[in-house]
Symmetry: C2
């Protein structure tokens, strides 16, 4: 049996309780440049730490819409989102799409959103209506969403089945089959240094170091450490409380820099006590995803 519920934007606004959530959206390729410094990754963008940001999203809970549509199929395990924008990056060219586990879709925080930071959602950010999947890689927060489908299996859209997958380092990304590698969903623990910028000159003496950290879907960041001696000693940064369970957290501390070149390093710890791997070399993968290695800023103090 197939059931279908057709909803206009006015329907969405009128039929369901409105909900606002603060959520960080982060590209799976955030910080890819650090992996490309280990070994080139042809055809991918050299994202630094800014392929991520945080906004307040307003819309309705996807869970309420799914309940209204009578989703009670015990064989259903995934919810797919389809957009109208045909991508030439896909093989074959096809509209953008993706899916998330039903359990996540039924969590109240997944939204069909039409507002961002209190204003109507701009078209470039997915207006009139986009999906917002807090804690998941940005690719699952499908823009301009037109169709939501409940199904037993993950979407077979190219962007779910082939792209956004963590491949082993020796895999040939041009030869991958649908289902190869690890499908990315919830974001892994990560952090970045915002200031000082890598490659800049700073004044010797007390220097403020700032950054962000993010622990993804089901955890928050519990501690961030900063080192200015290559990781031999660390100071604990002041860490903001998360604005929501799915929000990055900003941090800051002051380190005393002697004149000369210095490497500033950071590392975050999540609520399980897990921390970040040291080196991008161990994390290199053919599509350049999930660079969770310690961020490092090389500066010269004068």
């Amino acid at each position: 049996m197939r059931r279908q519920l057709d909803l206009s934007l006015p329907d969405l606004k009128a039929r369901y309780r409105h909900r606002t959530e603060t959520a960080t959206l982060q590209c799976a390729g955030n910080r890819r440049a650090g992996l490309m410094a280990v070994r080139d990754i042809p055809g991918e963008d050299p994202w630094g730490p800014a392929a991520t940001s945080t906004a307040e999203w307003t819309g309705v809970s996807l869970a309420d819409v799914l309940a209204d549509a009578g989703v009670d199929d015990r064989t259903a395990a995934h919810v797919a989102f389809a957009a109208p924008d045909v991508s030439q990056l896909a093989h074959p060219a096809q509209p953008f799409g993706g899916s998330v586990p039903l359990a996540k879709a039924l969590a109240g925080e997944v939204l069909l959103a039409w507002e961002m930071n209190g204003a109507l959602l701009p078209r470039v950010h997915g207006g009139p209506v986009r999906v917002v999947v807090p804690g998941y890689i940005g690719a699952r927060s499908v823009k301009w969403v037109q169709q939501v489908t409940v199904a037993p299996r993950p979407s077979d859209n190219w962007f779910q089945a082939v792209a956004y997958r963590l491949l082993p380092p020796d895999a040939d990304p041009d030869q991958t089959e649908p289902g190869d590698g690890l499908s990315l969903g919830s974001v892994a623990l990560n952090s970045e240094i915002i200031t000082p910028h890598d490659g800049t000159t700073v004044t010797a003496g007390p220097t403020q170091v700032t950054g962000y950290a993010f622990a993804g879907d089901d955890r928050t960041v519990a501690r961030v450490d900063v080192s200015s001696d290559g990781g031999r000693s660390w100071v604990q940064a002041d860490l903001d409380s998360p604005a929501s369970p799915w929000s990055w957290q900003h941090w800051r501390t002051t380190v005393d820099l002697s004149a000369g070149p210095v490497e500033i390093t950071a590392r975050a710890w999540d609520t399980t006590g897990a921390s970040q791997p040291e080196s991008p070399a161990a994390l290199w993968n053919p599509k350049g995803y999930v660079n969770t290695s310690w961020p490092r800023a090389h500066v010269v103090a004068r």
Copy 2:
């Protein structure tokens, strides 16, 4: 208002639906010996990789008991467990106890259990009735549980407020105050090599390497890699599916060893694409918890 529900073991068995879950219990100090090799940790046991195991537990869902007790207090956020065994390790000496977030306690998998692997729970494992908190450090699965209390704050028992906390490396564990450091709950991603044993001699040629990996409460292990050249190259191990969402996963692969000394290394990846830090040096902490660094077995092939 305080409400109280008194239940005998026959009451537990008669009033609530029985539930069986496979769950790995892991000491927060599992693999501490690897941290002690970096710097001594006086007064703590040098656990190797065997401070963990997996069993099938049968009992009732704590959630059902809490519902029966009318837990609907919006100010409640934690559930504390109290045991009768007075510990002289605590300051001051006190009965063992601990707590978990109410959200976890209301997840169906948290049990009041009286059976382990189909047999009556032995006293040494917490019989007649213990708590089993799948995915959490073993200390929260309180043995011989006598009292369950719902409260706005975590338990102030010494084993919750002072012990089982991840302290920064420069903290003095004898000077910590209740609430210092990061309270451990859900287990962090980890793995270990079971065979060959560190320090043994093996026959040169194809050698089977086996181990376990565990991703804690809310994730599973998606991939395990094995290296026999110090992490320069890796092979993907065959990885068992988890017996439950809260179970370790065994893995195995074969590496070809030339005659001579060799370091076998492993690393696990969870479903978010997060992996383990390389070195225990970066993870050292005064109580020796959460050693999630790459496991390494140094063997000689002959």
